[in-house]
């Protein structure tokens, strides 16, 4: 591994985009822009932008707090305010941050919400989270739309109609009321065009792991790549520009036969290709990542990078069917897929990206992800005869990240993969 860590141009663009957003948020009192709190899964970025509002994502704030080592004190603060130890730690971290003055990752104060928009109800915690926020921000408008679960693995016309009616009758009127701006369908269509283009690029980016060595890590670096598309830039020309640039850089890596970039430089040798299910741990993100790249493991696909949208199964926002495609987008969230759909999706990733192993990172405080994880793992193991591993940690509560236990289990997992590789190579050699 080289020690030379080159700052790619895409990294600079992303940094500027994020800084710009937080600056805009800090200046709302002078610009008069309205603030919409919403969540990543099922986020209606294009609609928010159509009403010229600025988005705030509480779970992004929580994970940023964790990466800045602030989550432990925020969680303690929330627990002092009667949030149980078992409550989702994103919620507690966010509540703690709010109780501590709501200072965001750039050190600037995040403004209070003018509207709380819940556009994905598959996570029950989201509802409770916004109920808590509503109590703290009594002046904020609340709009919640119900997202039907894909119980039968399909989106029916009735489900789509049910969603578009809610968008038309609930969401849009409330947004018009809060922003004071009338709904402009043309503007929305323009944003959707940009969204579609960004989605094409990000699909290509995550598809680049087909190459050997994989030019990117689709989990640890992937969470950075999904940043712009997830935190409100989907539907903007800036996002398209960012993803184009990123793809160009990845293309260069492919042409030069280079592996992924890690915090310590380029990964020298790709030994294992993995598909990972479940969110990463944020409190010890670097340490966690290091265990993988030190072992020569690259993640070629992950479910977590699909939480803000599943684009690799063909879904695109469609300017010609604006509300319908927004409805489909919400219902296509990764955690809104039924378990057989998730298994098929992960199975496709394992096969297309030629993964050597499948790993589940089970999150103590996330029910949305944890439900069904073991069953999915068993099914994939049986169906594809892929070695599987299971570790446990948490999103942003450092008390639930045990480095030595995780390292111990991962070492066993990688040795298991190595042993199987040796055995299969020898079996193949014998067959020849």
């Amino acid at each position: 591994m080289t020690t030379d860590v080159k700052k790619e141009r895409s990294m600079t663009i992303q940094k500027e985009m994020v800084a710009g957003l937080f600056k805009d948020l800090a200046n709302v009192q002078t610009t008069g822009k309205k603030v919409c709190y919403t969540f990543i899964p099922g986020n209606l970025s294009e609609l928010i932008r159509t009403f010229d509002m600025l988005p705030v994502y509480p779970e992004i704030n929580a994970l940023q707090s964790a990466m800045r080592k602030k989550s432990a004190s925020y969680i303690r603060e929330a627990e002092k305010h009667a949030h149980s130890e078992d409550v989702c730690t994103y919620v507690k971290c966010d509540v703690g941050m709010m109780l501590n003055g709501n200072i965001g990752p750039t050190g600037e104060k995040i403004p209070e919400p003018d509207i709380l928009l819940l556009s994905y109800t598959g996570c029950f915690t989201f509802m409770k989270w916004f109920e808590t926020l509503k109590r703290n921000y009594p002046n904020a408008e609340v709009v919640m739309i119900h997202t039907p679960y894909q119980e039968n693995g399909t989106i029916t016309d009735e489900m789509r109609d049910y969603m578009t009616r809610q968008l038309r009758e609930e969401v849009i009127p409330k947004m018009e009321k809060v922003s004071g701006i009338p709904f402009d369908e043309k503007k929305l269509k323009k944003h959707l065009e940009h969204a579609k283009e960004a989605e094409d690029w990000i699909t290509k980016i995550f598809d680049s792991t087909k190459h050997r060595p994989s030019p990117i890590d689709a989990y640890f670096a992937g969470v950075y790549y999904i940043g712009p598309i997830n935190i409100g830039f989907r539907g903007t020309p800036e996002a398209v520009e960012y993803y184009k640039e990123l793809y160009k850089e990845i293309r260069e890596r492919i042409d030069n036969g280079l592996g992924p970039i890690t915090p310590e430089g380029e990964m020298a040798e790709e030994k294992y290709r993995l598909v990972v299910e479940g969110p990463p741990n944020w409190t010890n993100f670097r340490e966690f990542w290091k265990i993988f790249y030190d072992m020569g493991a690259v993640i070629v696909a992950s479910s977590y990078t699909k939480v803000g949208g599943v684009y690799d199964m063909g879904f695109r926002h469609d300017p010609q069917r604006p509300l319908e495609s927004l409805a489909e987008y919400c219902m296509n969230c990764y955690t809104n897929l039924n378990l057989p759909q998730r298994i098929d999706l992960l199975g496709k990733c394992i096969e297309e990206y030629q993964a050597d192993g499948y790993l589940t990172n089970s999150i103590k405080s996330c029910n949305s992800f944890s439900a069904g994880q073991l069953g999915m793992m068993r099914e994939l193991e049986d169906r594809l005869e892929i070695p599987v591993g299971f570790i446990e940690s948490d999103l942003v509560d450092p008390r639930y990240f045990s480095y030595s236990n995780i390292k111990n289990r991962l070492e066993s997992f990688f040795q298991m993969l190595k042993q199987r590789k040796i055995n299969y190579q020898s079996t193949a050699a014998e067959a020849i």
Partner: protein, 483 residues
């Protein structure tokens, strides 16, 4: 020159070493309790395995002669027992020095009386332990120096007045760890010769006609030895000298277990205990598809394929309740030794319901139950069942018991745990599931490590990496009496 391979399993509670030959046959086993110093524990286990291997080689050399002269077998077993005693004695001398120094340093009041009592304990327990070693009376307890000494020492100290008891126990606590953490090396040949000398005395003193109450003796063999050991002694000495001179060259070694990272081995010689336990269990029972290992601080449910390769595994996370340490804690709560837990639990009339989610909570529950008059054996049975229930949940998470099932780890030696594992596996997965439990269950990780060490020569070492791996299904291991 013969090649030997060493596997070392540095567990959180015990450290194990196994030496195999190039046919994967176990030649030597060594075990010690892991205290603060993993390095010393590894060295002690390895040394013990090497001595054990020399005895095995000696037995192998005498194979034909043993058949024709059964006296030889008994004589060798006696030598081995005395050999172990002599090692114990060296450590005991060190402990005595430490104890005297500790009493001198810590006990300010009644010092002379405490010194007097310490000497009384030492002069009483020393000969008692010697007799137990020489008569092969230690049973499964003869593994660890600490257990052997502390049992008798505590027993005597407890009977003394509190004024003496506390300083005596304090002195013991301060002295035992440095003694345990000190590596003592022995000369095999010298020690064997010394053992033979000591036996001379034993045999000479044997009564011509044993008293009726001495039921533990093998009268005929001993009397036979009394008269005849000299016939085999000379030829045995020659063999001993030969074996002692033989270089047990360890061609490769693999370390595993919690302390493995502390071993000064190259990266390729450090293996996960998951792989080692599975490989060891599979070698002994080739049809094994599921392995359950309950160790000191973790429980592992492992699925393996027909080659003994791990396909998936599951380990307890966040809490070690339900592992071996849980039993250790409970033993301390009851003030009994670990070895007594299982047999007493088997005497239960029923199992008291006990929560197994937290070791410390279980301790509180135990005290409450004792206060309300629940029988100790029933509580112990409940605790054993609780451990197994947790292990069953882990097994279910790992994919269940798919075919032949092997139970490994130190806890597998506990008969009560074994009883509940058998019951619950049969309940959950059917009575037809074949269950394997081996007398060497505690050594499975070290055995797997040694087997990897042998294979590493051919597969994993950097310069050999391009070579073809051996066919794993040809592994055969011969170990005594699988039960």
């Amino acid at each position: 020159m013969s090649k030997y391979y060493l596997g070392i399993d540095l567990g959180s509670t015990t450290s194990k070493a196994v030496i195999i030959n190039d046919k994967d046959e176990i030649l030597g086993r060594g075990i010690t309790n892991t205290r603060a110093n993993y390095k010393v524990a590894a060295d002690i286990a390895r040394e013990e395995a090497i001595y054990d291997a020399r005895f095995t080689l000696l037995m192998q050399k005498l194979d034909r002669e043993i058949d024709s002269k059964p006296v030889l077998r008994q004589y060798l077993n006696d030598i081995r027992a005395v050999f172990q005693y002599l090692q114990f004695e060296r450590r005991m001398q060190r402990l005595e020095e430490e104890l005297r120094a500790a009493v001198d340093k810590f006990a300010y009041d009644h010092k002379a009386a405490i010194v007097e009592r310490l000497e009384l304990i030492l002069t009483t327990i020393g000969p008692e332990i010697k007799k137990d070693f020489l008569d092969n009376n230690l049973g499964s307890k003869n593994q660890f120096f600490r257990d052997i000494v502390s049992e008798r020492y505590n027993e005597m100290a407890e009977k003394m007045d509190k004024v003496y008891f506390e300083p005596l126990m304090l002195a013991f606590d301060k002295s035992i760890t440095p003694v345990e953490n000190q590596m003592v090396t022995f000369n095999f040949k010298e020690l064997v010769h010394e053992s033979m000398k000591m036996l001379e005395q034993k045999y000479r003193d044997l009564p011509d006609k044993p008293a009726i109450e001495d039921k533990g003796w093998y009268y005929s063999e001993l009397n036979y030895l009394k008269d005849n050991y000299r016939d085999v002694e000379e030829s045995l000495r020659q063999y001993i000298d030969e074996i002692a001179a033989q270089n047990i060259h360890i061609s490769n070694m693999v370390g595993t277990g919690y302390g493995r990272a502390l071993l000064p081995f190259p990266e390729d010689c450090i293996k996960s205990e998951i792989l080692c336990h599975a490989f060891g269990a599979h070698a002994v029972f080739p049809d094994t598809r599921t392995v359950l290992d309950i160790g000191g601080q973790d429980t592992k449910a492992i699925q393996v394929d027909s080659h003994g390769l791990v396909t998936s595994f599951h380990m307890n996370d966040r809490c070690a309740a339900g592992c071996g340490r849980y039993l250790g804690y409970i033993a301390d709560e009851f003030n009994i030794s670990l070895n007594e837990l299982g047999p007493e639990a088997l005497d239960a009339e029923h199992e008291t319901n006990i929560c197994s989610t937290c070791t410390v909570f279980a301790g509180a529950e135990v005290r409450e139950l004792l206060n309300v008059g629940e029988k100790r054996s029933n509580i112990l049975a409940g605790l054993h069942r609780a451990i197994v229930q947790r292990a069953m949940s882990l097994l279910a998470r790992s994919g269940g018991v798919r075919n032949e099932f092997t139970f490994t780890g130190g806890v597998a030696r506990n008969q009560a745990v074994l009883k509940y594992v058998k019951e619950m596996v049969a309940e959950s997965y059917g009575k037809d599931i074949k269950m394997n439990i081996h007398t060497d269950s505690i050594f499975m990780g070290a055995l797997g490590g040694a087997m990897f060490a042998r294979r590493n020569i051919e597969t994993d070492l950097p310069e050999k990496k391009q070579q073809k791996a051996p066919k794993k299904d040809k592994i055969k291991v011969t170990i005594n009496d699988p039960s």
